[in-house]
């Protein structure tokens, strides 16, 4: 794998693909990957399990247990491929859809549900997993990732940060400022854009006239487009970009070319704005099926293995559901917790007044 070829902004590489939709392994001059059967089985398992968690979450939302859910359906390979490229020391900054990355970082899936159920705004400790909180305000986390990377630089640490965002996000000023900062400070950061073709109802043409990976060239760092439904390619490309970052070669923009198979969120109705044939075409490029086909063909996985993973997935789904329902509602006075780290007299007074008010209902109602 030559570094130069992968970084040549002048002559952008074509879509990087290592596994075709039909499950054929193919070569790419700049990127390759050597995975053991075990590693491949682990990736397959990841893909299936995160899809199962996602499915369960959609069902929970339908049943009124979550307020809303943003499904990752179709984007599993982009998330698992990139997520598994990270070392423990690397830091990831997600949007609201990176359930697959969260999985790779060891975040308990039930913790992801808290935000969508409305019991908290994020239930995990970012430091425990080097996985930041979900960010809903489009694009703002890109600057945090760059700042964090500037911190890594100052610490002289062997690490990088990676930040996830969508195709729509590329239009936000913040994202472009993040590109500038990263370039100017040569920050060890990887910009991982999941181009799932849609920003709610708006197709990519509303955000850019040219392929998104080419945006990077205008800022002086390399951009690469990878088949976002190909977990091998996503892994290879992200690994290389992180390595470059850690080695002082600065940022890379990765455009993972994929598709949002479901609605934007459970509140959305995509039939209002996109045609069914598009979805059908992308179904043929499913990120899981191609790995399965490859594993079958190359005898890396047999039916027993696939059945075992399915069974594990079913268990996981049940477990997630059960623990979701058990999640306690926060107590009213938690409204006032954690707003400040240090004491705040004015807020304490509001809190006390509300506590006293609540007390008047005790025994009543």
């Amino acid at each position: 794998m030559t570094v130069d070829a992968s970084r040549g902004a002048e002559a952008p590489p074509e879509l990087v693909q290592l596994l075709t939709p039909e499950g054929e392994r193919v070569e790419h001059p700049a990127y390759d990957i050597d995975l053991s059967p075990e590693e491949i089985r682990a990736l397959y398992r990841d893909l299936v399990l995160v899809r199962r968690v996602d499915m369960e979450a959609v069902a929970l939302q339908r049943q009124g247990e979550l307020g809303i859910w943003a499904s990752l359906l179709g984007q599993e390979a982009a998330q698992i491929g990139s997520g598994r490229a990270l070392t423990d020391a690397d830091m990831a900054f997600p949007t609201y859809r990176e359930h697959g990355v969260a999985w790779c970082r060891g975040v308990d899936p039930v913790n992801l549900l808290g935000l969508f159920r409305g019991v908290n705004h994020g239930g995990w400790d970012p430091a425990d997993h080097n996985f930041h909180l979900y960010t809903i305000v489009i694009g703002s986390q890109t600057l945090h990732a760059v700042g964090y990377a500037m911190g890594i630089q100052r610490d002289g640490a062997d690490a990088a940060s990676i930040v996830y965002f969508g195709d729509g996000a590329t239009s936000q000023g913040d994202v472009n400022e993040a590109f500038i900062w990263a370039s100017v400070f040569n920050a060890p950061v990887v910009f991982f854009c999941q181009n799932n073709q849609w920003a709610i109802s708006e197709p990519l043409e509303k955000q850019s006239k040219i392929p998104l990976y080419r945006r990077a060239s205008g800022f002086g760092f390399p951009g690469v487009r990878v088949d976002g439904n190909d977990v091998f390619a996503c892994l290879a490309v992200t690994r290389q970009a992180l390595k470059n970052a850690r080695e002082g070669q600065g940022p890379t923009l990765i455009e993972a070319f994929t598709y949002r198979m479901g609605a934007h969120t459970t509140s959305d109705d995509p039939t209002r704005y996109r045609v069914a044939t598009e979805l059908e075409a992308w179904k043929l490029k499913d990120p899981i099926e191609r790995v399965k086909a490859y594993m079958f063909k190359s005898q890396i996985g047999d039916q027993d293995f696939f059945d075992a993973v399915d069974a594990e997935a079913a268990d996981l789904g049940r477990d997630v559901r059960k623990r979701c329902l058990e999640m306690p509602d926060p107590a009213p006075l938690e409204i006032f917790e954690h707003v400040y780290v240090e004491p705040n007299a004015m807020l304490a007074e509001e809190r006390d007044q509300y506590a006293a008010y609540l007390a008047t209902f005790e025994g009543g109602e």
Partner: protein, 324 residues
């Protein structure tokens, strides 16, 4: 006379404005084919096409900034900010450009831009989707700020806002989008900056706007059962305030409560309290009290019923004004 939801009343109002004046444009994220996430612009794209209903790139500063440019060229853009919490990337364009440019030009430039903001909580949403940022804009000179609370006002006020020669920040109470009422489209509308007595009363003035009007009307019904008469004023206009109406009511009742969803601290209720106290000092039997959101970020939705001032909290504030 037709019975409309608040969302549909806005939709009809936008359509009427677009039919009246070919310079009126709709801009925002997902306002086209989708008709907006709340369907307020539903059907407009189909009927007016993409040169008048513009699905924009995903960037709020860009939306307001280009709307300013379009207004400078003679258009009247109506911008949708998808949710309250997403207006802040546009803060600079709103505060330093939209609000100030007419003055800066000594009145030569006019910016008839409307910024529609679905606001407030109560819909079980995730963070940033339930906020009430009106005080940021009432503090910004050069802007007009209004809030509708019911379908009839929604229909008329959105058209008034579009006709207004000044920039208008237009708040829409998202938890009331689906409330229905009869709308008399032919009726002569109250001027945009006038408030209205939504329910007359004698004992205490309750000032509210947007989503809280309904809550306060319910509080008034409950209070009436206990023999207390609340006068509920729907402010409608947040900047400028209809101080004549407000003061008249407080001079009559001698007591005043302001209710809003936004955090109390430095919220609009403070301004109203300060003005009422100054103007009605000798009429007040008690200080103006505020029933508002707590001075914290909007909580996760399972706590929003606690966070939002409800009927009980409004009545509690009313009770407290009688304790003075």
């Amino acid at each position: 006379m037709s019975t409309l939801t608040l969302a549909k009343a806005l939709n009809d109002g936008l359509r009427a404005a677009m039919e009246d004046d070919p310079k009126v444009l709709i801009m925002g994220e997902d306002v086209g084919k989708l008709g907006g996430v709340f369907r307020v612009t539903d059907g407009l794209y189909k009927d007016f096409g993409d040169s008048r209903v513009i699905d924009t790139p995903l960037a709020e500063s860009g939306i307001i900034g280009t709307a300013i440019g379009l207004a400078l060229r003679g258009y009247r853009p109506v911008c949708e900010i998808q949710f309250d919490g997403f207006v802040f990337p546009a803060a600079d364009q709103i505060i330093t450009q939209l609000a100030k440019m007419p003055l800066r030009s000594l009145g030569k430039l006019r910016l008839p831009v409307v910024v529609r903001i679905p606001c407030g909580g109560g819909i079980g949403a995730v963070e940033h989707h339930s906020e009430s940022p009106e005080a940021y804009f009432t503090h910004t000179a050069g802007l007009r700020v209004v809030a509708c609370s019911n379908p009839a006002d929604a229909y008329h006020m959105i058209q008034q806002a579009i006709r207004c020669e000044d920039p208008v920040i237009f708040f829409e109470p998202k938890r009331r989008y689906w409330d229905k009422a009869v709308v008399d489209k032919a009726a002569e509308a109250l001027p945009m900056h006038r408030g209205v007595v939504a329910r007359p009363g004698t004992d205490v003035t309750v000032l509210a706007y947007g989503p809280m009007v309904k809550t306060c009307l319910e509080a008034a019904t409950a209070a009436a059962e206990e023999g207390r008469s609340l006068e509920v004023v729907d402010l409608r206009s947040l900047s400028p305030l209809d101080t004549d109406l407000i003061f008249e009511s407080v001079r009559k009742t001698g007591r005043c409560v302001v209710a809003h969803e936004a955090p109390v601290n430095s919220g609009l209720g403070a301004e109203i309290a300060a003005r009422v106290t100054e103007a009605c000092f000798y009429n007040l039997e008690a200080p103006v009290l505020r029933a508002g959101g707590f001075s914290t970020p909007y909580p996760p939705s399972r706590l929003e019923d606690d966070y939002l001032p409800d009927l009980d909290r409004v009545l509690d504030a009313v009770d407290r004004t009688f304790a003075f």
